[in-house]
């Protein structure tokens, strides 16, 4: 397996590590907040579900970042859902939160 691999540039690796740790973290938070807004019923329950799913989003984001063909695509794949989530959050946010 190893002999067929081409070497990866250091910049690409650093970029992906940042995307995975920081970008993945933000994506997990944004995704979890949207989920907590969409779940009906008691607020504490909805937030609890969001919190517990957030780690799955984070893990998936990391897997995505390191499987994407280029670092650029990896970032894009985080940014687009991230922006969508942010828009949804602004739309659904309870009044007077900030």
């Amino acid at each position: 397996m190893a002999n067929r691999t081409k070497s990866v540039s250091t910049t690409s690796i650093i970029s992906r590590v940042v995307a995975a740790t920081v970008g993945g973290y933000l994506a997990a938070n944004l995704g979890a907040i949207v989920i907590s807004y969409l779940i009906p019923g008691a607020l504490a329950n909805a937030v609890g579900v969001g919190l517990q799913i957030s780690f799955l989003i984070y893990a998936c984001a990391v897997l995505w970042v390191f499987s994407a063909r280029s670092a650029c695509r990896a970032w894009l794949g985080l940014l687009v859902p991230g922006i969508c989530c942010t828009a949804l959050i602004l739309l659904l946010m309870p009044e007077g939160l900030i």
Binding site: M1, R4, T5, K6, V8, S12, R16, T21, A28, N29, A32, I33, S36, Y37, G41, A42, L43, A44, N45, A46, V47, G48, V49, G50, L51, Q52, S54, F55, Y58, A59, V62, L63, F66, S67, A68, R69, I89, M93, P94, L97, I98
Partner: protein, 543 residues
């Protein structure tokens, strides 16, 4: 990232595993020890005499209340814990009053009571097994918050390593039954695979639930999204989720009955010796309550609890099981209970312990595999690249050094005189100094050999494994020399927690000795091979 999806996952698995392996190994080893935290606590406080778990509970409660009256007359809560199988001694706990003005929170204190004299048992100051247990999530010597974040991040990436490991694993079921000893790299890989696949459900559960346990620290924004980003919002969330059962203090003082006065009523209802604990909350208040919990319930199912008014002595309610929880809270409850395993009996507790150790060895073999693979590409270079040397030193220092350091912690517990200031801290210091030394040893080992770095490190592997074997066998011997709680006495008294500790450490000694023999075999082979290479200068490839 590189080639196919599986190749990307392989890269991710290899490098994330390597970077986080050392800290995760620490977490798995100390966390596994944590499953026997109270047993280790007991071993590290040999002043406590084993008196079994039976006895007259009413008399015990009398002693406990007498002591509490003396030592904590103003405490807001008293808690009496009756002898149980894992904690065969009478313990009293009390909560001091916090002050809302200064923001100082109330603190819990505890003492163990001697059943003959009613006096508190004076024990040596020690971090005990609790310290090892606590280290697995809050590390040591660094701020709590940073530790929580670091551990959360590592756990998240462990989840990623586990998932990517499953992806790159083509024959997950076949490898379940595959082990080819004596085949160098293949053996390491087989061992890594068996230890990963067999307890995979445990690894996934323990990693994910570990993340959940710290989620309010690691993911505060998610709470903020609904409750506001200030401290007040976080507080409100906690109050809604962890709504405590029980009345709040009214602020009006009232005379309380003693807990002992209720004993006849409790014993006529449940029978003698049936209590696990009894406590009085909001002492001296109109709303003071006495809670009596039945013995034999820990963790998943809440103990049936009788709740009395501490003013009138009337039975107010019987709590039989958990309050009906919402979905999220229920899931959290199940996962975290599974993680902590408080409910586990002896057999299940051993299974937990062994699963945790399998996790540690999974990580260790993975890191060894990293070195072996790279080593085979450059067999002639006995000096090794800088990266290879670094990883090898960290591997030796972590994989064998940590167990040696923990043995040193136990040895320090027996040798440091009782009563010196900050004794518990000195014990921990010994642990970390010994651990630090085991990183230096492989670095310095080549000096007397006048040979290349990797030769010295192979020697260090074998010698440190022997040292580990010797120190684990030495601990029970030292216990015999310094206390009356040694193996012979604990077996004749039926004190299986104490005996179990000594026996387990002896088994560990044996396992390290076997490992030393095995690794010495490998070392001799490699030594022979490199010598041949050096003498005839021929191009050679391993196997």
């Amino acid at each position: 990232m590189i080639g196919s999806f599986r190749q990307s996952m392989s890269w991710l698995h290899t490098w994330t595993g390597l970077v986080l392996g050392w800290i995760l190994y620490f977490v798995f080893v100390t966390g596994s020890a944590g499953y026997f935290d109270t047993e280790i606590d007991r071993w590290m406080q040999p002043e406590i005499n084993f008196k079994g778990t039976g006895g007259d509970q009413a008399a015990m409660l009398g002693l406990a209340e007498q002591r509490l009256k003396q030592v904590a007359p103003d405490a807001v809560e008293w808690f009496v814990n009756f002898p149980k199988s894992r904690e065969p001694f009478l313990a009293v706990w009390w909560l001091t009053e916090g002050s809302p003005e200064t923001g100082k929170k109330g603190e819990w204190h505890n003492e163990k009571i001697d059943l003959d004299s009613g006096e508190p048992i004076v024990t040596r100051e020690t971090g005990g097994g609790q310290l090892l247990y606590r280290m697995h999530y809050r590390l040591h010597y660094i701020p709590t918050l940073i530790a929580y974040w670091l551990i959360s991040l590592c756990s998240l990436f462990l989840l990623v390593v586990l998932i990517s490991g499953v992806v790159i694993h083509k024959k997950i079921f076949k490898d379940f039954f595959t082990f080819r000893p004596g085949k160098k790299q293949r053996s390491w890989l087989d061992m890594h695979n068996v230890l990963s696949v067999l307890p995979l459900p445990f690894h996934l559960m323990i990693t994910y639930s570990g993340l959940l346990l710290l989620m309010t620290v690691s993911m505060p924004l998610v709470i903020g999204g609904s409750y506001g980003f200030d401290e007040e919002g976080q507080q409100q969330f906690f109050e809604e989720v962890f709504a405590e059962d029980g009345a709040h203090a009214s602020g009006m003082s009232a005379a309380n009955i003693t807990m002992s006065e209720l004993m006849p009523m409790i014993e006529s209802r449940w029978g003698q010796g049936s209590l696990g604990y009894i406590s009085i909350e909001n002492r001296g208040d109109q709303n003071a309550e006495i809670h009596a919990g039945k013995k034999g319930f820990d963790g998943i199912a809440t103990a049936p609890t009788l709740v009395f008014s501490a003013v009138s002595g009337e039975l107010q309610r019987v709590v039989n099981s958990e309050v009906e929880l919402a979905l999220a809270a229920k899931f959290y409850e199940v996962m975290t209970n599974l993680h902590e395993g408080v409910f586990a009996g002896p057999m299940l507790r051993w299974l937990y312990f062994l699963s945790g150790l399998m996790g540690a060895v999974m990580i260790a073999t993975g890191m060894v595999l990293w070195v072996v693979k790279r080593r085979e590409k450059s067999v002639k270079d006995e000096h090794g690249s800088r990266g290879l040397r670094l990883v090898e030193v960290l591997n030796i220092g972590t994989i064998i050094g940590l167990p040696i350091a923990i043995a040193a912690y136990f040895i320090a517990n027996r040798l440091i005189p009782a009563g010196i200031p900050d004794r518990a801290d000195v014990e921990v210091l010994v642990l970390f100094i010994v651990w630090g030394g085991s990183f230096l040893y492989p670095l310095l080992r080549r000096l007397p050999l006048k040979r290349k770095a990797l030769t010295g490190m192979r020697c260090a592997w074998v010698e440190l494994l022997w040292l580990a074997a010797a120190s684990y066998v030495f601990v029970p011997v030292l216990n015999l020399l310094t206390t009356d709680k040694h193996l012979i006495n604990s077996i004749t008294q039926g004190d299986w927690a104490m005996a179990g500790f000594d026996l387990t450490l002896m088994v560990f000694g044996g396992v390290f000795a076997i490992a030393a023999l095995k690794v010495r075999e490998i070392k001799n082979e490699v030594d022979q091979y490199t010598k041949e290479l050096a003498s005839n200068g021929s191009q050679g490839v391993v196997q």
